[in-house]
């Protein structure tokens, strides 16, 4: 399950790098997920007629 890091230096980012997709999915999630909160916040404002 857990892939050992084979790079010269095993930093935080290399640990997250578990083969294709893992690291990018984590970073993409970090980037995109809060948009859900922005969405609902905007929806609330829209309904209250702001």
């Amino acid at each position: 399950m857990f892939e050992p890091c084979t790079d010269i230096v095993c930093s935080f980012w290399s640990m997250l790098n578990q083969g294709p997709m893992t690291l990018t999915i984590i970073l993409h999630t970090l980037i995109v997920l809060p948009m859900i909160w922005i969405y609902f916040d905007e929806k609330k404002k829209l309904q209250s007629g702001e």
Binding site: T6, D7, I8, V9, S11, F12, W13, L27, L30, I31, V32, P34, M35, I38, Y39, E42, K43, L46
Partner: protein, 236 residues
Amino acid sequence: MENKPTSVWTSNRFWRRSATWITGVAAVLLILLTFDSMGQMQMGTAEDIQNKVTKRIPSPVVINYKIDYVLDPYRGHEVPIIGGKTVDSATGKVSSKFEEKEKFFGRDDWSEEEARALIHKGKLTIQAKNCMDCHTLLGNGAYYAPDLTKAWLDPAWSSEGPLQAMTGANSKEEAMATFLQNPDKYPTHERMMPNLGITPEEAKAVVAYLKFMSAIDTNGFPRNFGKIKGAVDARK
């Protein structure tokens, strides 16, 4: 004048806030990653070599050592090997021994200071002569001439190779330096390197830089360098 949006998806403010957020986080992530990468990319020191610590960009004193480029099954690609290799029997991991020396212009005791001065001059010359607008270095540059990333290890410059014989020199570094000073006198193909007025000191420094560059860990680029012999074109 503005029409009231009926859905969040068509609201300009939603997209503006999202764009701001996304750009901000991407920029912060890039900065964090840059700090981590910069830490790993600092040039090593002679002390690292003494302590047998592998660095992505080693100390310039590697010019005193024999450099090789071999497949590391543990990392899944080729890695530069400085001064001979050891193989870990459990993982197959290949590492540098930092022991086997190789003379560079007749010496294998270049001090850290001397080696640094040499590659400093070499890098300045590489920029001043615009090498990158014909050659690629670490694969970046123009595509009019061969890639120089591992040029130091090119079999054509070895003692059996045609290029060393062409210049009449007795060692790889002297052959390369001779060629660099008068490249148009040693045409290898119809396409030649122009005479860039490279002085003997500059030529020596550039060759030192090439040797140093061949010891940089490029994650296995270029692949199979100098390993395939006698390949035949499918159809010319």
